[in-house]
């Protein structure tokens, strides 16, 4: 097994053994979305109007919830220091950890999104755009979040700081994710919005591992 796959496998195994982190993210996503019909009333037309926005905003917050643990556990027990001394470049290790993070948070969020959208009476035409949009958008959330997690490593109250740093950077993903659903619901093509989400993902894939690795090196000095 290559070191990259070994690191992904270890993070997945840790997530499965601990269970808590990933399950919390999904539970938060489900419960928060369910709160909206209680808050704004069960009127189908109103819920339908705001369904895509609710699902996307809640998914962003749920993804954020697990980010502060991304490097913190490894930082505290000395694993990060040891990892930084391995042959695999730190940039590739960040990518591996983001992949594992996406598999235990982004992927379940993508699977759950259409189920929850059902509760909110999302238009039938919007479902493909929602699922595709989430599939393209959530990896960006993990990658952008990794930069914030690396920069706030070792800071006191890093979790709050992390939200303030990362949420503004999530705005483009939110805009195009919701726009794809709205366009599909209104009978327009969702494709341009999905392509922009894909472009954001490519950009995040190219830049985020380097930025996060630089942040980690700083934290380890």
């Amino acid at each position: 097994m290559s070191p990259f796959r070994r690191l992904v496998a270890r993070d997945l195994r840790l997530a499965l053994r601990q269970g808590g982190d990933a399950a919390t993210v999904i539970a938060f996503f489900v419960l928060t979305v369910i709160l909206f019909p209680f808050g704004v009333g069960p009127e189908p037309l109103l819920l339908q109007r705001i369904a895509a926005g609710i699902v996307w905003v809640t998914a962003l917050l749920a993804a954020l919830l697990s980010l502060d643990r991304l490097f913190l556990a490894d930082y505290e027990d000395g694993s990060l220091e040891a990892l930084a001394l391995m042959g695999l470049p730190l940039e590739a290790q960040v990518a591996a950890k983001c992949l594992a993070h996406w598999l235990v948070t982004g992927l379940p969020l993508t699977v759950m999104a259409p189920v929850l959208a059902l509760l909110l009476h999302l238009r039938a035409e919007s479902y493909p755009a929602l699922v595709l949009g989430m599939a393209l958008g959530t990896p960006s959330l993990s990658l952008i979040g990794a930069v914030g997690a690396a920069l706030t490593l070792g800071a006191r109250r890093g979790g709050v700081l992390l939200s303030l740093l990362v949420l503004p950077l999530y705005i483009p993903v939110l805009i195009f994710g919701v726009a794809a659903c709205e366009a599909a619901g209104a009978g327009f093509a969702a494709r341009p919005h999905l392509l922009l989400l894909a472009a954001l993902l490519v950009l995040a894939l190219a830049l985020a591992p380097f930025a996060a690795a630089a942040g980690l090196r700083q934290a380890l000095e």
């Binding site: 097994m1 070191p3 070994r6 690191l7 270890r10 195994r13 840790l14 053994r17 601990q18 505290e76 027990d77 000395g78 694993s79 220091e81 040891a82 990892l83 930084a84 001394l85 391995m86 042959g87 695999l88 470049p89 380890l220 000095e221």
Partner: protein
Amino acid sequence: MLEPSPPASAKNGFTGSALACRRGERLVFEGLAFSVPPGGVLVLTGANGSGKSSLLRVMTGLTPAEAGRLAWDGLAISDDPAAHRARLHFIGHAEALKPVLTAAENLVFWAGMRGGTDGAAALDRFRLGALAATPCRLLSAGQRRRLALARLVASHAPLWLLDEPLTGLDDDSVADLHEVIAAHRDAGGRIVLSTHAPLALDGAVTLALGDFAPRWPFAVPP
């Protein structure tokens, strides 16, 4: 500033010259030079806070030195940090063990990241074979220390950097460590370790960090 001339064995050893290290605003040590030939052991001694751990971290490349030069067989380490990382094992104060993974899983992961081979033999070397399937959260402090040290045997690296490796070890484990160190030296390996306890190692060179304390620790050389 005086530049100490590199030792005669500089072409064939892990060497440092005119090293200085700064932590925060404080200069920890300056003008430090050392040389570890193949098969050699350098023992770092000194009071708490004298910079033993800082020097070891400088040797790994994790912490950049404020001044000075590190070299491996005459080649500057800053020229190829990746090659330097590949040739060293660093066992610090934190054991880097995941509490929910078993002893064997932890060891195999770290060995695998370095392309290492035999986890079972390394466990047996530190008499941890019976604990292979035990989650690390159930291990005692000394057992965790031994598991961390087993990484030295599980994958090969010519340079070992050990930060107080004896902490928490019982007498038998200290003897095990001595044997492992002797075998590593016989194979031409180099070792730098910090310790407060006396170690019976033939031909070990002692470096007292207190000798390199800066006269005025808050002055940072330009």
